[in-house]
Symmetry: C3
Subunit: 161 residues, 3 copies
């Protein structure tokens, strides 16, 4: 068992199944694009354990509370880790998180994007540790996101070949 898998088990965290695409939706790209020692995680939303898209849906600050959204960001992180595991086989191949771009579906007056995306960052730091897990980050407000998910995150990590 990899160190990362051991940490996930210790925390009682379960990685979700692959995204169950809504009927008629086609995504002609991989969840993770591995190019040499760099792995790019496509924009990912929160998933339930069975791979269905997780709600609540809509705008953070009006339809979704900040606390709910931070939990959705944490679920998004678990979905990203699940995608990495399917692509890399062994999560201990991740040698360093590089960058994450955290997108919050919100109204124009919302300004607590960092608190929302901390749900993701705190998970990554906890599971991968402070050195490998360290990442540059932005957390910003989008006018809308696919399927009206409340949070979407994309990221780059470095991996051992």
């Amino acid at each position: 068992m990899s160190k990362v898998d051991a940490k996930l088990a210790e925390r009682g965290l379960v990685l979700p199944a692959p995204l169950q695409l809504p009927e008629g939706m086609v995504l002609p790209f991989p969840e993770v694009n591995l190019r040499g020692t760099r792995a790019f995680i496509s924009g990912t939303g929160p998933l339930n354990p069975d791979g269905s898209v997780a709600g609540p849906f809509g705008k953070v600050g009006t339809d979704v509370t900040v606390e709910e959204a931070a939990h959705l960001a944490r679920l998004t992180g678990l979905a990203m880790i699940a995608g990495l595991k399917r692509t890399l086989g062994d999560l201990d191949r991740v040698s360093g998180w590089v960058h994450a771009f955290g997108m919050v579906n919100c109204a124009p007056e919302f300004s607590q994007q960092p608190t929302v995306i901390n749900g993701f960052s705190n998970l990554i730091l906890d599971v991968f540790g402070p050195e490998i897990g360290q990442h540059a980050r932005s957390a910003v407000g989008m006018s809308s996101l696919p399927m009206q998910i409340a949070v979407e995150i994309e990221a780059e990590v470095e991996v051992r070949v």
Copy 2:
């Protein structure tokens, strides 16, 4: 003739002329920034063959239909390929698409960004093939874009030196 040029010719696809900047607009950066084996394509919008910015303009879902926007995303892809060709000389130097960030100018309730940006992804996969053309992707909603273009995409590709 490069393989990519041959594929473009086979499809009857024409790469547009360089962007004709609107009067008074200054963009102090290149369309593609080549750093070693990595080429970064600046945020690009849809162009007509003569390099003028292509409409329809405004918000997808209200001013622009999803079908029109997917076509604009395809035109954006052609403009990006044109920029790569001017920078690299030979499009077969592209060894792998890495990542694309697809931005849709839309209203807060719009949620079909993936369908729009598929117009870009399907072009890249068709012209470069499924291995070199494979890219990580996000497709998200922006509150507004320069000149009220409906679609803007930026991307990174890996190239042979």
Copy 3:
């Protein structure tokens, strides 16, 4: 004194102190994440010389003029350079700017994002010179930004080890 520091002094430009976080705000990530020869600058906003977040705040085009916003983009650039200096020690270690993503907090009808982010690009090109300072760029409209700052920019640079 590094060449970049000399240029800053020549222009009378002062790098701001580190960001003074508003009470209760936690950002669990570094201002710059250095991974090998690549340095990723986290999403950064405009700072006053003492490190407090610089206004005016709100939407560009309604609450903030284009000229004010371009100045805020310039202040954001200075904050990013300050972060690089704290991380790298010597700013002449920057061998090339790679990419910048410029985000403007604005209303749906705003379309002058490039003019705003030119405040950043012109600073970088002036201080680092046209070769090292050259960067790919996007300049786009966000529905909102943390703390209702008017401008936020993230970037990647290449560095000598």
